[in-house]
Subunit: 455 residues, 2 copies
Amino acid sequence: MTTVKPRGKMVNAFNPDAPSELSERERQMVEDRHHVLAPSYRLFYQEPVHIVRGLGTRLWDGDGTEFLDAYNNVVSVGHGRPEVIGAVERQMRQLCTHTRYLHEGILGYANDLLGTLRETMPEAQLMFTCTGSEANDLAVRIAKYHTGHEGVIVTSEAYHGNSDLTAGFSPSLGDRSPLGTWVRQIPAPDSYRIRADDIAPMMLQQVRSQIEDLQRRGNGLAAFIVDSIFASDGIFADPTDFLKPVADLVHEAGGLFIADEVQCGFARTGSHMWGHARHHVQPDLMTMGKPMGNGYPVAGVAARPEVVAEFGYDQRYFNTFGGNTVAMAAAQATLDVILGEELQANSQRVGALIQAGLNDLAAEYEQLGDVRGSGLYIAAECVTDPETKAPDAQTAAAIVNGMRKRRVLISATGPNANVLKIRPPLVFSEQDVDWLLSCLEQTLREDLLALVATR
Amino acid sequence: MTTVKPRGKMVNAFNPDAPSELSERERQMVEDRHHVLAPSYRLFYQEPVHIVRGLGTRLWDGDGTEFLDAYNNVVSVGHGRPEVIGAVERQMRQLCTHTRYLHEGILGYANDLLGTLRETMPEAQLMFTCTGSEANDLAVRIAKYHTGHEGVIVTSEAYHGNSDLTAGFSPSLGDRSPLGTWVRQIPAPDSYRIRADDIAPMMLQQVRSQIEDLQRRGNGLAAFIVDSIFASDGIFADPTDFLKPVADLVHEAGGLFIADEVQCGFARTGSHMWGHARHHVQPDLMTMGKPMGNGYPVAGVAARPEVVAEFGYDQRYFNTFGGNTVAMAAAQATLDVILGEELQANSQRVGALIQAGLNDLAAEYEQLGDVRGSGLYIAAECVTDPETKAPDAQTAAAIVNGMRKRRVLISATGPNANVLKIRPPLVFSEQDVDWLLSCLEQTLREDLLALVATR
């Protein structure tokens, strides 16, 4: 089997050099991947999963073994969702073409999408792309063109995309991925280690000092871009009082506030349709992606008209597949299900059940130092000691792989890879919660003991 | 109706301030677009088309009026192609998930795709993205990382994408779209104005001088990237003897040769599956997009393993939708049809018929100064005078809009917007050729006279 040299940073990555219990068939697939795919491709879990079918919150491997999906946010309204599949199939049969011909689909969807933004982005205009990376790349291009500045401020472990520009302001990609000289980092609002009342002043002071640095070096501030659930920073849902003053400061400096809703948008956080709305902030630009078409590649940017006016008039922007008739049909069907089945309320209700269960387990297992999140974006942080709060990546990995062995898929996140990340489809049910929590309880009971014994 | 200020450059763009014969319904749609979409969105034709259905090479508007599609290369195996729709629908019902789980689909497709590259890129490895822009962005990121240089050489009117990086080396976006300081332009191989024998030495000398300039300024050469059909430069298919020596020169300078196959790949040019193969060159990186999934957003990069090794080991690159199970099913079905129905041979045969017909018309109408192309990528260049070869954008626009009025869709291209661009789905038939040519003959006969009268 092809061996692989030490790699760039990735949480919950399969290591082909470490032992794993793959079948001969799967071992062959891993080897085939090494031949035909570039080495950037990485698998999840120390025993990678080989899934062949999905429905709702469930996945099945080739042997018919059933898995619970408590991780995939892309298929937000559920795997194999007939409404979305039907809409895509019908529109493909009808017409698949781009935005340079008139078509009703894009107008209907744009109206419905803008309807969800009436309070925080009234009058917004839309641009459609295929991926969240394209959306963030475009948003920052617009911000640079509008402000005439180039500086970008992000959180210390932010991830905003895989394009040259967005990777340049995505420190979570690790030390070997070049950051732009025009990028500045601020700490995440670590509510586990910083008092809630101290977070707003800390964030404000940090942003102010980075703006000053960008101005002194002549970059100026183009944008502050933030994922308001701080997914790659370790998931911090609360407090929600600090982004509004930061946005004011950013505006004073002539910069724009960009809400990256790729992770937290489309009802994910339960209490609101959009993450920035939880924080009572009105963004200049908002980007969206992943769950927008329940797996169909569709993403977009919402912009205040003043901000996008010059860019739009001066520059042609055409995205061949962006806003195409099928993408709009997929996005429309997905939004209709989210709204029609009140999945935002489900996210809030079911997410609260998960957090309650995690808190019960945390009372028993001190390795779970903190439980937090909003809606169905939930974190449980693993520590070696609840007093020092020292991050424990080994325990997080043991739990993630232990859950996988027991057929429940979650993952981990954060700069220290020690934060369990639970982010299921929005259609997660109470029965799913029971399976998730009982599996976690069993994993903690059986696997943590073994882990402690090996230390 | 909302009025629009003067705009960034775009060939064959609808001007809402000029007269057009839109119905009340369509006028309302144009206005709705101005409200909900950012001003970057532009329509084709002075009388924009409002298409509701497509099948094969035909499109229909809401009134049931039939159009001939002689322009859209995305739906390369035809509009509403049942094999592709069936594959997408089946895979969506089965499973739609990403590349961090094991799945057969990506391996099967990768093998088949690499099979088409055995001669020019043996041993290549693949990375999948969603758009051609993402593919070009990624290819140049890889080139920069591998070479340690940042300079990029392109043709003078190149278009390589809409991301910050790729727009930075896409001069065709016009004066108001910023070019990178690390970008150098060389002239296109204008076979209408330069003797065939002079093109190779001219290209070589131009590339050499730009490499020297990049080296002197400390940028160095990361990549020479080229669309070998020179689509946005005005479509130049021949000669095919100059890219090989250019590639050798690029390698001597420590740079990489990137073949952008978004326009010319997947059998488009008739004689070969890939544009670079017509030029007998072995690229270091190749990018593909548009027709890859017959409208499903899928694109990719092929790389020599040595070139992508460090990037792949050091840097995580994950594209949520790139290489997902459904994208691979769409791409597989599309490739199967191209190979199974020998659409490359059809492209060559039918393209030759179109060129022969165009040459007959050019003998009669001296406004058609040059006819050229390969397979189903065909150009007819409009000039005011065949002696001076002065570009005639007005005639090209009159022909494009005259054809559209007669229900045949083509467009124009080139730095002077005077080159008719004929680029139909690969399933274009002899009957389609007859319609196309008779419509063009009628347009030339009826509309050019009227145009001359107004001059």
